[in-house]
Every structure is written in C-alpha cells, then in structure tokens.
Amino acid sequence: MTDVICPLCGKPNPPELDECMYCQAPLKTGGFIAPPEGEADLRSSLSSSDKAGEAENQATEPGASSDLEQNIPDWLKQTEANFLDQSEVKPEESFPDEFSEQLDSLLSPPSTPPSPKENAIDDAWLASLLDEAGVGEPAPPSLQGEIVEEHEPEPEIYKLDSESLVEGSTEEEQLSPAQPAEKPDWLKNLEASSTIKLEGELFSSETEQKEAAGNDIAEEKGQAQPPLPEWIAKTGSEENPPSPQEPEQPIAPAELPNWLEALRPTETVSPTGPVEDLTGAEIVSSGPLVGLRGVISAHPSAIRAQKPPTYSIKLRVTDEQQARVEMMKELLADEEKPKPLPSQPIITSRNIFRLIVAVVLLLPMVWMIISGSQQTSTPQPGNIPGVVDFTQQIQMLPSGAPVLMAFDYEAGFSGELNIAITSVLIQLMNKNVYLTLVATTPSGPALAESLIKNASSSLAGTPRSYSNYADLGYVPGGTMGLLGLAKSPRSILPYSLESDNVWAGAPLNAVASIKDFSAVIVLTNDPDTARIWIEQAGPLLQEAATPLLMVTSSLAEPLIRPYYETTPAQVQGLIAGLAGGIAYGRTVGNIQQNGIWDAFSMGVTVSFLIILIGSIAGVVSKMSAASKKKEN
C-alpha cells in the first residue's frame, strides 16, 4: 500500500485518511505521497507493462504470437480461455485507454480524495498480469467495464505495490474462471464495503471485511482451484515480503462536541505554506528521527569519533641536507673542545717595559734596606694627626690594667703596620698592662702571637717572655660577633687559646663588658672594620670614657680620621700607616729606622718618576703616530 506522508509530522498514513492520524494535520491539500517501498518494482512492472504492450503489438504478428503462446503454461491458457468465453468485450477497444489512464495516474500526483471503491484493484491487477503473460488478450469487456466504472476516479489504486499486485493476481486468477456469470462473494463484500464507506462507514470495518473476504477467497482457492505451479508460487512468495508500511489500524476520529468544533481553528485545516518535496531525500533509518525524510541522519557512524591520523615523524632528508647536518655537528663538537691559547712570544715590548719598571722600582728599595740608609728625614709626631693623642692615652694607662687589643688586619699589611704595632706593644709591655688579644679575622690570632713574641724579645734590650696577656682567639660573625664581644665578651669568648678560663682570674674577673677595659686598641687595615668597631663598641666605650685607639693603614686613614677629629672624638688616638708608626716610634723612643723609611721614600719617588716618564712617552708616541698618519 502507498502511504501518504504527513507534511507536519512526517509519519506515514493510509491513503484513505484525509487527516493525519497522529497529528490531525490535513493530508490531501499539502501532503505528498511517499514513494512506495517497491517503487522500483512498480517502475519495473510499468516497464514490463510497456513491454507487454509491445508484446501485444507483436501479437499481431503470427510468428511472435506463436512463440509466446508456446511459453504460456497450460493452466493459464485454460484460464484465459474460460475468461474469454465469459467476456464479450474486445480487448483492443478499452485496454489501451485504460492503461494510459493508469500510467497517467501513476505519474501524476494525487489530486482527488481517495475513493472507497478499493476492490477494483483486483481487476486492474488481472489486466496487468495478462499483459505480463504476453497473451495480448485484454480483460473481458464486461469486467473491464466494471473496473472502469467502479475505479476510474480512484488514482490510488495504481499506487499499489508489486506485492499486492502479485497477491491479488493469484486470487483473481483463480476466481475469475470459477464465477463467470455472477459476482463472487468477495466482490459483493467489497462492493458492500465500498457502499458502506461511501455512506460514512469507518475504514476499519472495510479493512476487516476486506481481510475477511481475503480469507474467504483463500478458503475457496484452497477448495476450488487446482494447486498453483511451482514457478508462480515461488514468484508470489518472493514478491510478497511482509510490508513494513502496512496501514495501521486506523483510529476512528473522535466525535467532537459542537462547542469544541466551534473553537477549532479553521486555519490549521488548510495550511498555505508550500511543502518541500522530499521524495528524493533519504529516510532516516536509525536514531530518534527514524522514518523522517530530509533530515540529517543521527546515525552513530556520522558522529563516531575517529582516531586521528598518524603521520610519520621520520624526516626525509636529502643528501645535501644530511651533509650540512654533519657539518654542523662537527662545528659543535669543535666548540666543546678546549682550544689552546695562542702562544705569545716571551720577549715583547710590553714584557720588557714591565721588567724595566720592576727592576727600576725594586733595586733602589732593596739597596736602601741593605744599606740601612737614613738620609730621608723621618716624620715628626706633631705633623701626624693622632699620634700624640695615642701616645698620651697609652701613657695614661695604669699598670696591670686590662687592655683589649683587636688584631683585625691581614698579614699582607704587616710590613706597613707591624712597625707601629710593635712600638705600641713595647710601650704596653713596659707599662705591664694585661693584654687581652682578640681577632675578627682568621689570621689575627697568629699575627697577635707572633707580634707579642717579637715585641717581648726586644723589651728594654733584655729579651724576656711576656706572659701578662690572654689570647682569646677568633671571633666569628663579623658585625654580629663584634656586637656580642662588646656586650658580653665573657660569653662570646669564655676561654683562651690555651683553654684557660681567663675570666675567672684578675684582672678580667672585673670585666663584664667591653667598657670595663681600660682601653681598646683596634689594629686594622680595613676602613669598614674600623667603622664597625666605632659603631658597635663606640657607644659602650663612651659611656665609661674608655678610650678607643686605632692603628690603621694609610689606605684606611682618610675614612677613620674624621672620627678622630670630631668633638667629642669617637676615636681618641690614631696611628696611620708607616709614617704614623715611625712617628710614634720616635715618640716612645723606639726608633726602628734600619732603612725602611728611606726605602719607602725611594719607592715613592721612583714610582712618581716612572708614571711621569711613562705618561710623557705615551703622549709623545701618540702624537708622533698621529703626525705620521697626517703625513700619510
């Protein structure tokens, strides 16, 4: 059966219905007829009908008709003969027109409402079957006339699928010869049903009657007809698969009350918008939209995640590119190898000049030291700031008083500072003060011990060991260590390097803080170290009026000197550099000339000359080079 697709919901409906049995939308005005499932079969049947027409034309030729007649089975010939005997209508008179009408109705869309006279299907089927059989004999005129009379306004009958045709053919084939004069029961039933339908009977009753008629026919067929030949039974079984679009049991339209009919909008009955022809579109076979045409399929294959394509990572390198890669590798490998420095000649003008400078500078100094020259006048204590005050502070110290000495200078400055430090130590030893030695540099304790031994060996010309001191060693922590030492030296350095608890005995047992010392002497070459001492220990010392004395190098002297020159002074005495040491030695009567001062003076003089001569020579050479460039 050909279904009519609802334009609104897209569901198939029986062609008899005017409204969709699912959504009640009108089917006849804007709907379209879905192509039957066996559309190809129908077209093939149509083509076969054409072929049958051709065969009919050929039937006029004796040779062709004889061949066809030979192929017709005997039972069909007998059936045909009986049929022709009972009919008086000439086939040439009506069949071509009827067939053309059928063809036109098949090719044209449905324009008229379906007719209730569905039983005419069987007769049309019989005619087409005869054509296919190649008999060339049309349907009996009387029957054909009935068919034309009853089914002319019914175009839906030509939309039958091949399966119904085959099914109907087997029924009609066997019924028509058995009841030539009067209508069979099933036909009467059909007519009755069509009459009932015309009178407004429900479609369901008609279908039931039709099925009942089919059953009756089948029963009669089984009783009155001989068994079908095997080939046509096979054909019938092959061409009669169960149709998935069998018309469902129609639902009887509800009888609406009058008031509801009055409320029903009339616009919905006749939609005006054009409906797209989706006959060529595919029907969705799965998913929630199954059965619909012209929509995007929701088949899982359409949205199935696909594994991303894999591409080969292997590079396709040409020979030239490979050669360049090898070259780059070689270059990188050479970069990693240590390259030996280019050997320079030992004797160059620069090296000769360096050698000359060294010789000119060192030889006079060495000569002065060896000869013990004293030609240069020694500095006077009054001309060196801080020396006199330093001397006075030392002389004011009582005998046996505890004095803290911080050896915070590097061993490299010992040549400059040792003269002054030795003089100070000798003076302190002569006063028999108790020396407490500390250091904020790792080499300080060793320096202190060496100087103590050197100083004690030259005390008053009679070498003796000076033991009135305690070497407390190294104070780590830099500024923090100095602050700790200033606040509580007893806890920071509880034992001496000899592992003696010096704080238990006199005179250190009376010392709880750095201000309890009689004097603090800082020996340093670093201005920062001197500043830290002034900043961390200075306030405590000023509370007790404990003098802070410093022996520094010439390098640190400019920065420390302001602390000495301020009022009140934060540094009460200052000995700076070699000049200060010699001046202090002259003050305390410990003159250690032995050529050092002359050597120092000679060195400064030679350095001045070297720099001056070298600078003049450089300027002259530059000027000569520039003049040569100008000449060229």
């Binding site: 400078v357 240069t376 061993a411 790792p442 700790g484 302001p562 003076s601």
Partner: protein
C-alpha cells in the same frame, strides 16, 4: 608542611630581628635576649665557616679527578690544608710550629701579592695616558702624582710642604666626600633591607 615551614621561618626571623633591634633601644629589658640571640648567631657563623672549609676541600677533591693544570693546584691546596690541620692540632694554634707555618708561608705570600699589586699599579699608571689620552685621564694621573709626592718626603728632595697640604685636602675633602656619600647610600639600603626583613617581605632564608 610546605606552607608551614616558610611561615615558621618568617616568624622566627621577624621575632629575632625585633628582639635584637629592641635591645638597642631598651638594653635593660631586651639586652639579655639580644645577647643570647647574638651568641647563637655567632655559633652559626662559626659552623658556616667550618662548612665553607669542608666545601672547599670537597671541590678541590673533585678537581683532582679532572685533567689539566688545576689538578696540581687542587692537590697542593689539599696537601697544605691537611698538613696545617695536623700541625695546628698537634702544636696548638699559637704553637711554634703553627707560627712557623704562618710566618713562613702565609705572611710572605700575602705581602708579595700586595707588592705585585703596587708594581702593576705603577706600570698601569705609566701606560694609562698612552692608551687613553683624555682629560679625565690626565686629571687622574695628576691627582696620583700629587698624593704620592705629598705623602712622603722625596728622596734627595725632602718634604714638599705645599704638596703635603694639597694631599691632605684631597684626602679629607673630595675623597671623604665621595666615600661618605657611598656610605650613606649603603646605610639607607641597609635600613631598607632590614625593615623588609623585619616585616617579612624579604626572606633570604627561604620561603
């Protein structure tokens, strides 16, 4: 744990810094806590010094396995370190053997380095004008020569008093002015850094 430890470190550092700082302003109240904390810091500094020595030894121990001239230097350093440790351990830090090592090796080496430095400076001063004949170079060289002549009585010449006065002015006015300016900048930076550490913004101890 990763969040608790940094916070704990910051709390310890801030509280310790505050106690040390308050010890300057209120020595009678916070002086004891300040001294205790400083004592701990000194101990930690001593341990850090030992760790530094150990690290130095390990670095040169690894260098012994490598090729080149550095291998010889590393061997010399390790041998000297071991010998010194042994000698000082036996003789004591102020023993005669310890002082012999100090006076025979360390003092001459350091003095020699300073002597070479003096020689190099003289050589560089002599070539300075030849390499860079500019006005600031000339000014620099003139200043050097004046300070040299004003520091010491020249041999066969004696003291040049005007140069000594000029030298004193150069050392006490321009040089000290520049040095003090630097020190002020350093002091301000130190104050800012200390405040950032006290409020926990800077955490050099990590976290």
């Amino acid at each position: 744990m990763k969040k608790i430890l940094p916070i704990t470190n910051a709390i310890i550092a801030v509280i310790s810094g505050l106690f040390v700082l308050l010890g300057y302003f209120f020595p009678g109240v916070f002086g004891g806590i300040q001294s205790t904390l400083i004592g701990w810091a000194i101990i930690l500094a001593a341990i850090a010094l030992l760790l530094g020595i150990f690290n130095l030894a390990m670095v040169h121990w690894k260098k012994i396995g490598s090729d080149g001239l550095g291998k010889i230097n590393s061997i010399a350093l390790l041998v000297s370190l071991i010998i010194t440790i042994i000698v000082v351990s036996i003789s004591g830090p102020t023993g005669s053997w310890s002082l012999w090592i100090f006076n025979s090796f360390q003092v001459p080496v350091e003095v020699s380095l300073l002597a070479v430095l003096a020689l190099i400076l003289v050589y560089a001063g002599a070539r300075l004008l030849a390499r860079r004949p500019k006005w600031n170079t000339i000014l620099f060289l003139v200043t050097v020569l004046v300070v040299l002549l004003g520091s010491v009585p020249l041999f066969f010449v004696g003291e040049i008093t005007p140069l000594s006065i000029v030298r004193g002015w150069l050392a006490q006015v321009p040089a000290i002015a520049g040095a003090r300016g630097l020190l002020l900048g350093v002091a301000l930076g130190t104050v800012a850094t200390g405040l950032r550490i006290l409020i926990g913004v800077d955490r050099p101890y990590g976290g």
